[in-house]
Symmetry: C2
Subunit: 447 residues, 2 copies
Amino acid sequence: MTYAMLDANQLDDLISDGQLGAAATALSALPAGDIAALLDRLSHQARGVAFRLLPKDLAVEVFDDLSAGSQRRLIDDLGTAEVVAAFDHLDPDDRAELLDELPAGVARALIQQLTPAERDVTAVVLGYPRGSVGRRMSPEFVHARRDETAGAALTRVKDRGHAAETIYTVPVLDVARSLCGVVSLRDLLLAEPDEPIADLMSRPMFAHADDDAEATAQRCVDRGILAMPVVDRDNRLVGVLTIDDAVEVVEQARDTDEARAGAREPLREPYLHASILSITRARIVWLFVLAVSAILTVNVLEIFEGTLEQKVALALFIPLLTGIGGNTGSQAATTVTRALATDDVTTRDVVRVAAKEVRVGLTMGSLLGVVGFAVAALVYGVDIGGVIGLTIVSICTMAATVGGVMPLVAKSIRVDPAVFSTPFISTFCDATGLIVYFSIAKAVLGI
Amino acid sequence: MTYAMLDANQLDDLISDGQLGAAATALSALPAGDIAALLDRLSHQARGVAFRLLPKDLAVEVFDDLSAGSQRRLIDDLGTAEVVAAFDHLDPDDRAELLDELPAGVARALIQQLTPAERDVTAVVLGYPRGSVGRRMSPEFVHARRDETAGAALTRVKDRGHAAETIYTVPVLDVARSLCGVVSLRDLLLAEPDEPIADLMSRPMFAHADDDAEATAQRCVDRGILAMPVVDRDNRLVGVLTIDDAVEVVEQARDTDEARAGAREPLREPYLHASILSITRARIVWLFVLAVSAILTVNVLEIFEGTLEQKVALALFIPLLTGIGGNTGSQAATTVTRALATDDVTTRDVVRVAAKEVRVGLTMGSLLGVVGFAVAALVYGVDIGGVIGLTIVSICTMAATVGGVMPLVAKSIRVDPAVFSTPFISTFCDATGLIVYFSIAKAVLGI
């Protein structure tokens, strides 16, 4: 058995050493999925070479399994004939995703050479807005009829199965051709041939073609549904969303959330092969915007420069306090952002979230504040200790509340919650935290 | 069609208003998967009530779809009879997961009442270490023999299909009963009955039972494999990892990474129903540890208190500079942590990563440094401008490098990279950044 017999770096070396024969042998010993995964991790040049080393029919299979990004980059350096062959072999939904990646000219050229039938199913998918379920579903499915028997349905599955993306979940249609249930191929196969579909089918979990792809995919994944029927506004079946496509949608969405919680955009290629330029591009804008908004903290401190001059010791605690604020804020922000993604929280819950975070922040602030007071009082005297303790309580409460509410605000004004969460909240908490800190200091120390 | 006809809050209200009849009707109109999703979001008390409202056979199905956490909480307030019924119905891998959740006593009691056969398959799964593929695989599968025909294999699938967790991917065994391929039910069904399996089967992507569950699940998900055969050290088939279980493993792992990048532990229940106490518990330890390590920054500033007293203006830039360092560090850390999770980077790449991040940090630092110099020079004079510019360059380079390398170090000493990433890096960058800042200041300003 062969998996992991060859890793991306070894393959890269083989190719750069010009040992193409060895590379070809090693590659053809792997299953298509593993080859695709390897190619996804290769450098641009090596990917082109490796792909050409594959026997033709294996090549189309592998192309199928590549990420849309790699497909696009690969197309740049493949001959038209190779591209056409690979493109024909794709499922309509993968084809639509790739077309989104390609320059309009190339896309048109590719669509032109499809058979009319293939062009139609692709057009169905392309007809729905980006980010909708319609764009990610497969319009090629086999259905069963409510009024037929398991045997009849099974025969149709066998006849039409070749074209369908999946045959393991069979949507059931009533006389009006609208979705009334699903039956698993398993039940079809294990049932008596004369058993009526109506008895075998179960209530379907389904989606509308213009539903949000991310939310639907998450539902599909959470419940481990192999294929979710997709219907149009009149409840007529238009396609199925298969779990592997759903997983892809969910993973892409989480990559973006994760990246933005880390103040960057997701990389579109494997880290080690991403150029310094593209990595910088994915980060610099965020860093710049955050730095600019952080100038706010400089202005705040200027206001209190007098206070600082009278008691320089106050400066010692600035990073500690802003750090606590930033961490508390990002704890709340990431929690709520995640809860939004999993539908545990909706924008309607803003008050409940705020109420929760106020109490959590207050609890944590009190615990931490007491310790802060004790330590600071011992070293710098009771007055400074008091300032620190009080500031920690206020900052924690404020940061948790802001951090919890921000993602909801973002969502309700149709901004990706992740954009607003962590980084902005820490900057915001830094500035407001400093105001709180020095106001308390002035009050307590009577400066 | 009924999905989303009822949301968790409405159900909660119905139950707390004692409108159980209405709740029962609303519930029984939903597919089991939707009911489970609803129950997962209900408060502890409401969940128990809602579950009892379900007809017995629907109830076991729903229990099956619940998260292990909800199952555990549900068991606390169900009668033994109800529990036993639900427990019997679980697949061995789900059963093993639930048993991990339960107190040893309860677990033993539940295992006792299983049929010997059921107990055996559960024991198989429990025999593998936590976090291994063996723990998440299903030991109930149907196989085909290399030397038989499609027809013969299909018959076996029909006979044994009821017990198996999936029949859509059929592992193929040779005479030595070791894995030599897989054939999809689709190909079995669409093939001529007399076609030999040897011609239908394809090279399998498989895993070893003691492989790491997370890495294997990620592979399975990345390639959209419906079921991955699992073999023991002698390459004998012991089970299959189905994609729905793989997705669960991957999502749990990402929840943990995401949570820790946000300086907290993942919540084990829906946010809105998590108690203030449990939310606080998930955050306070992190916050406390970070706060304590942030005391480092106070000590650093104390060393430079003299410098600060001579030039209080230097204090104004502290939050700005630590902010830039923290953000740069977490950008690099989250990038590399993700690359580790997707196998794009291994601990062996530490030098390549460092080299990359040094250059990225230097690039971003220079861009930002020039702006920083210009702005600061205009407002506070060229000397301060120079200090700020130089400091930004050094901090960005350092933070990016440390942020990129840290996750690899963590991984190589067998610590979850996410633990080390973002929060610790920002604290670390704060302290070192301040040293850099004041050293440069002393040199440039000649204090």
